[in-house]
Symmetry: C2
Subunit: 384 residues, 2 copies
């Protein structure tokens, strides 16, 4: 298998983009990535999208987006593992380039979520849970993660304030990110006094409903060298699954798929948690970030809350987590989130992250998760 | 890249399966494929599905199906290019095995379409067309293919009876297929006098709404040889896109994505149309089969109608088309159709197709199409 580099990334301002359609948002973003890579012709593309059918009544988007990007008749595939669809696009694009099948491949993600009512959005997102065993009984995602949070608090003594600290840190980081949907800071007091959603989670524990896209261009490292591009190499990929129903798990505080995907990625990259300079993780709710940092091996099991409280995961800490602002502040257009993580890691490893820059960042990781952890993609990147 | 073989296939009876859920249908089918392959452990799986979100309110199905198949925590991806999602699963599984990333990979497809009303099914299927430029103006798929049929009749003199001959041939073949949804024969008179749907297409020109799944197991040829399995090798793969809106095409009687995908597959396999012993094509409507046989190079442009009339595409003819009964008689659970084509080709190349058997079949092709031709996958298989 060939070594693969990311040679271009693109992202546009995320938010409630009522004046733009799904195709417009994606094409504007993909053009930035093509421009950044310095290429105008693709061999193939993968688009992560969770549920454009329910959000905008449009399936078959990969072909449509290839057309509007001026790239027909190239192969174009839409891929989906709920909220980790963007990470899946990266993995499949990586495999295609590594295999030798094609050279220049776009991997991206898109979701247009604000064209429907709040009720419809909650239903659409709920299709990432087990409808027959969870959804039909009234469970929504805030409810599922609230169960995980309550169990983590009971088992490990994680506090309400520690959950809030995740939001405080991520909004602090996001306030320095020009594409973030909510680039404002929040305090622990604001989080713990915000509107209750599903006890113990309040609205400032939850990532928002967002319209947005992100894209990256991959090619073989050998080709990138000839193009004189900065080489950000994909050195590890992992993809694992777990039951999508929370009720089927042995321990709802533990994200087994994240652990398994990370194990694969660490082994392939021949790296350990201590080698990672920064990580983007899937903080769809504050509790998610805590559980993920444990499953990735950055902190001990049960110590994720304490780690954020002590600044371990802040910029300047031992392992900066979600320098982009994470899903919490940057926004969470579900299919695009995994693709946006690539953008942040690449900008950091290139030293282009402005006020959010992690000093001397050379190795970065992205962890992207579907549902309540039923699917997880983990990737490790290294600046050559 | 490594050579890849299909070592197992599975399909269960298609139809209106009201007593079975999506997960049950898929798992029963996948178990048959595993049994046929003689393996009980997968490294990875790809599931083609067009729109389980709209049909059964469930996305994130790949992880769920891996779980119910007893395969967690393996990587599992749902992939989508509308009605060609099953063919896409095959291509991505092929690339993964060929790359060396994984060895034993399941590729399958599923759609559960009959749990919703006819109106809802028509809307869900319409999401494969361009909603903004086609759907919102009232066009449905029978309408789109009716435009193609009318144009083909005007341009090439294709007759109403020739369209009907496609249905007659495919029902004749399907009457010998135990898994077909509609295994009965029809006559030209019955077709041309059946209920009008979108002039000139009548109900017996249309493929049905179906619940069903199909699956195949891939592995490297070298591994298949050690297992003493009959070797059905994938010698060509092609994937191409076109505008998903019919109105954007230069010639609506010509399927450019099918032509482009076939060109790739023929080149990779180093074969010509004359080398192919049988082909499964995407006859979602009778006119589709006529246009596809032209774009694949089996008949001259404009002569597809005449070819079916003259028996060129019948079993025993020059190029047997849709020996399985095609979408028309076997049924069309949209995400599963491309996967079912693999089953038919493998059974034919193994000489296990019973009364439908094409004598001395050694090389087979599958053509699977999304929307009105916006995506096409073409694969060529050879018995070693």
């Amino acid at each position: 298998m060939r070594d693969v580099a990311v040679i271009g990334v693109g992202i546009t301002k995320w938010g409630e983009l009522w004046e733009k359609s799904l195709r417009t948002i994606f094409v504007e973003t993909a053009l930035l990535a093509l421009d950044d890579a310095g290429v105008d012709r693709l061999d193939s593309m993968y688009v992560g999208c969770m549920t454009s059918g329910l959000f905008v009544g449009q399936e078959h988007i990969a072909s449509m987006l290839a057309d509007y990007l001026g790239q027909n008749p190239i192969p174009a595939a839409r891929v989906e593992t709920a909220c980790s669809s963007g990470g899946l696009a990266l993995r499949l694009g990586y495999i295609e380039v590594a295999s030798g099948m094609n050279d220049v491949v776009l991997v991206g993600g898109i979701e247009k979520m604000t064209d429907v009512s709040g009720y419809e959005a909650t239903y659409a997102l709920g299709t990432a849970a087990d409808q027959e065993y969870e959804g039909y009984h009234g469970l929504t995602f805030p409810g599922l993660y609230a169960l995980m949070a309550r169990a983590h608090m009971d088992k490990y003594g994680t506090t309400r304030e520690q959950l809030a600290q995740v939001a405080v840190k991520n909004h602090q980081n996001g306030s320095k990110n020009p594409v973030a949907q909510f680039p404002f800071k929040v305090t622990v007091e604001q989080v713990v006094n915000s509107v209750m959603i599903a006890d113990p989670l309040r609205i400032l524990d939850c990532s928002p409903i967002t319209d947005g896209a992100a894209a990256a261009i991959l090619c073989p490292v050998e080709m990138a060298k000839k193009m004189n591009k900065p080489i950000i190499k994909i050195i590890g990929t992992g993809h694992a699954t777990d039951t999508i129903a929370l009720s089927s798990r042995k321990d709802i505080t533990w994200l087994e798929a994240t652990y398994q995907a990370a194990k694969q990625a660490y082994a392939m990259a021949d790296k350990k948690p201590e080698d990672i300079d920064l990580v983007e993780v899937h903080d769809c709710f504050t509790i998610a970030e805590i559980c993920v940092t444990e499953a990735l091996g950055f902190v001990e099991k049960g110590k994720g809350g304490k780690a954020v409280e002590e600044g371990v995961t802040a910029i300047g800490g031992k392992i900066p987590v979600n320098t982009s602002g994470g899903l919490k502040s940057k926004g969470h257009p579900v299919g695009a989130t995994g693709a946006a993580q690539i953008v942040e890691i690449v900008e950091q490893l290139r030293g282009q992250a402005g006020d959010r820059q992690v000093k001397n960042a050379r190795i970065g990781m992205a962890q992207n998760m579907g549902g309540s952890g039923g699917s997880t993609l983990v990737h490790i990147f290294e600046r050559e």
